[in-house]
Amino acid sequence: MRELGRILSRRRLALGLALIALLNGLLFLREQKKNDYGLDLELPVSGGLVYFDGSFTAAQVTVDARAAYRRYAQRLERIREMPLAGAVTALTEELDALKGKTGGEEGAEDDRLDYVAVKNLLDKAEYLAGYGDWLETIQKNKENLLTFSLFNDPNSFSGRNILKTAGEFEKLRGVELTLGADGAVEAFMTFPLTDYFLVLALLLLALSFLEERKAGLWSVIHAAPNGRVKLAVRRTLILLGASVFGVVLLYGTDLALGFALYGGFGDLDRPVQSVEALGRLPMLATVGGFLIRYFLLRMAAAFLIALILWLMLTAVNNVKYTVIAAAGVLAAEYSLYTFLPVQSVFNVLKYFNLFTYISLSDLYTNYLNVDLFGFPLGIRGVSQLALIPLCPLLASVCVAVHCNKKPTEGRDLLGRAAVKINSVADRGLRRLGLFGMELHKTLWIQKGVVAAALLVYVAAGLTYTAPVSFASLAEQTAREYTAVFAGPVTDETFDRIDAEQTLLNNDLDAYEDAQKAFAEGLLEYPELDVYAHKADTAQIKSEGLSRVRARCEALRAQGEREGFAPWLIDETPFESVYGVRAQDNQQRAALAAVLALTLLLAGSMVYERQSGMMFLLRSTARGRGALLRRKLLLAAVTAAFVWAAVYGMEVYTLLSGFEIPAWRAPVKNLSMLTSFPLKCSVAGGLALLYACRWLALFCVAAVTLCLSGLFRRMETACVASCAVTLIPSVLYAYRGIGLFRPLAVILPVEIMPLLLEANGALSAFLTYLAALAAAAILAIYGLFATKCGGGR
């Protein structure tokens, strides 16, 4: 119990495990949303537009996935009791009826939701109805394949494999699959991140067993009467308990969240093959029975993984090299599992691999036999069975290694290599100035390089554009005309609009003439139809053109009033990147930037304190003002790096995705910024926007630096910095709690929501920025004013 108490009292470990549990839940929810709750949202008719690569292209009208799932669940409930064949017929008829109603015009949303719900239900029902046929096909394949000479040798691997496969699926014959809410189980079985989170949690736990080595207590513990077998057995039991708890917590969270999202598990007595992801599982079991069995196996597999990790970590004396060695083994195993071709003669290494137990669900969602000396071996069966001897065997090995490993034994070869590497690094480091060393401390010693790499990875994956769709064809046409007439609004612009209008009027007049001719019997209906079609198009275009004219007139009037040159701008790129529809993107980018900044800088000051260096630093000539100025410079550079990583990608997307000839146009010509108070070009306005974003990020960095100086431990500083800089923003942005709006630092970082609300007026933005700047100035003042040991 004491050992468990010691481990549980490790704040860093507790924090890490809590973070893992939280991240697992959040990412599971995100994954479900990203996967549209398991629905195929494709619609048969295009009805919207998206602007990209400088051209309009047709895009699907999107439907709200959550609403579609609700509709799906309602219909599922209605047809659940129907025979499958009847359900397929009814759903097919309904789908055909809905196909024509899903056009892009307003009001069709309901039909679109129905279409998606029916289509997905139909797919599901067809799978269930066709499952018996699929089983039959396996049996027929057996008979057919055995007739070919290549496979008909019952003593070859191929022949044996065909027979084994058919034999295993034979027992499923006659199984009656039924419809049900499978979303939770499907999501549970196909979310691989939980597997890795579990490994990470077990790794953290196993690493906590090495604390005694770090603290120099290994030899003391090794010499204690209970420090060998008893301690090793206790640790084995702790790993077992942690495996059970970890599986229940992480996978239980997935299942519980799935239950809440997808409206339950459906009937748990249904055959497990009713869940499409488990259709290839040749095992007679109910969904409920399978889940229980899966959880138990998952726990055993987790225990095995934990033991392997512990064994790898105890095998080498030096903690650091232990971790490197463990990482090496894991990387090798992962490479074999992922990259070794199925057909390889070494495929045994691919499947009888540590990652087989990590990605356990693959055993149940795929069916595969490997060739072992000509005999097909079922991966699933062997892996499951192997757990029975492997767990106690490895536990014994772990105990033996723990007992027999001598704390001061052996020559540290890796240590000698490290000294050589350090000597090279030292030569470079001694040339660095104070700022260089601060950078070195942040990036290397405090592992900021990991946060930086993660930021770059996340920034590359962020979406910076949102599709701009149009409510009507007239609006779409107006956009197209805007692109055509884009440029300074002059008399010539109006002349060109008039000329276009004349052409359109011609088509309208021609249709009127055609109607008369048709009435007089001078024209056939098909010919009239051509005129009618042209007139329809002309009518829509005419409406679009009127909107463009009105926009030009409004710009000219505003330009005369406010003294700027009117310029018709195709605003689609700006709307796509900065507009209302892009606000979610902007929010995510700002959150990523603030999080990265916090993680990179939260340790900067506290590290000095935690290392016990404060007194020493402050007694040197440059250890006060000069050092703090370097730290501030570091904050500025870090802010610039984060800014470049996140917003550099945004600018790159804007520049590479769109052709923007209107950089020189006065910024007020953008309808989203008509009240912008400064006289500058679009390029100038955007430069100002990005400069303000950097400034806001620098202010956040300064506040983080100050917060970092208030704490004694790195973890506390990180949590506190996140609590101040991030949590209010998250609560405001994602939970909609207005109370946190004034504290949401992402608003001045994003800027655009504040500008869009005020139509470009800067008052709200400047208020936020001034408040943030004041906080930063106070923070900087606090940093310079603090003495390191003024109180007790």
Binding site: V419, L429, R430, G433, S611, F615, R792
Partner: protein, 247 residues
Amino acid sequence: MKLELLNLTKQYGNFTALDRVNITFTEGIYGILGANGAGKSTMMNLITDNISRTQGQILFNGTDILKLGREFRRVLGYMPQQQGYYEHMTAQTFLSYMADLKAIPKKQAREEIERLLEITNLSNVRHKKLGGFSGGMKQRVLLAQALLGNPKVVILDEPTAGLDPKERIRIRSFIAELSRERIILLATHIVSDIESISDQILMMKHGRVVGLDRPDRLIERVAQEVRESVVPGHFSLEDVYLYYLGE
């Protein structure tokens, strides 16, 4: 060169850690003796301006060190009682970094680091991370950093704690060599560390200075006061310590 503490007082709430201390330090080694909580470290932290004084002045050559600020810290070498170091830095990088903080030119720093690594017997482990050092090795690295930049005022708080006897003698001899044209304040519990090398011994108790004199004079004074109860000729500084500071 003069370092004067005038009426120096430090209070933490109602607790007085240092009580109206008046001392003038000139060139030489000052061994500071006192039990835990006597105020030795508080005095050193006040001289290094790591804590705020409640009352009094610290003058270096007649000017308050707060006014001198960076200029005073340029001539200061400090080794704190608590081991502060970056465990992920090697000894060499740590000393380079400290040299930079002490505003020592790069070339001079390189030469000094070489010399100090030799003196502290750390040359062969200069590329090892400090986290892997033993307590004594860390102590030597900290001593080396304190001596970087040829400081005029050297403050060493328990410099020989954790060192083996051989290292202790070695470091003690080195400190003795340093004493010319420097003020060295050396706080310790180990009387033998300062007995032979100190020019003056400062005895502190409950935040006050209870004795300040040359070691031989202190021994003589105590011997005269307690002549009846001890065997003549067997007096040492430890007896002085016990006489002044024992309960």
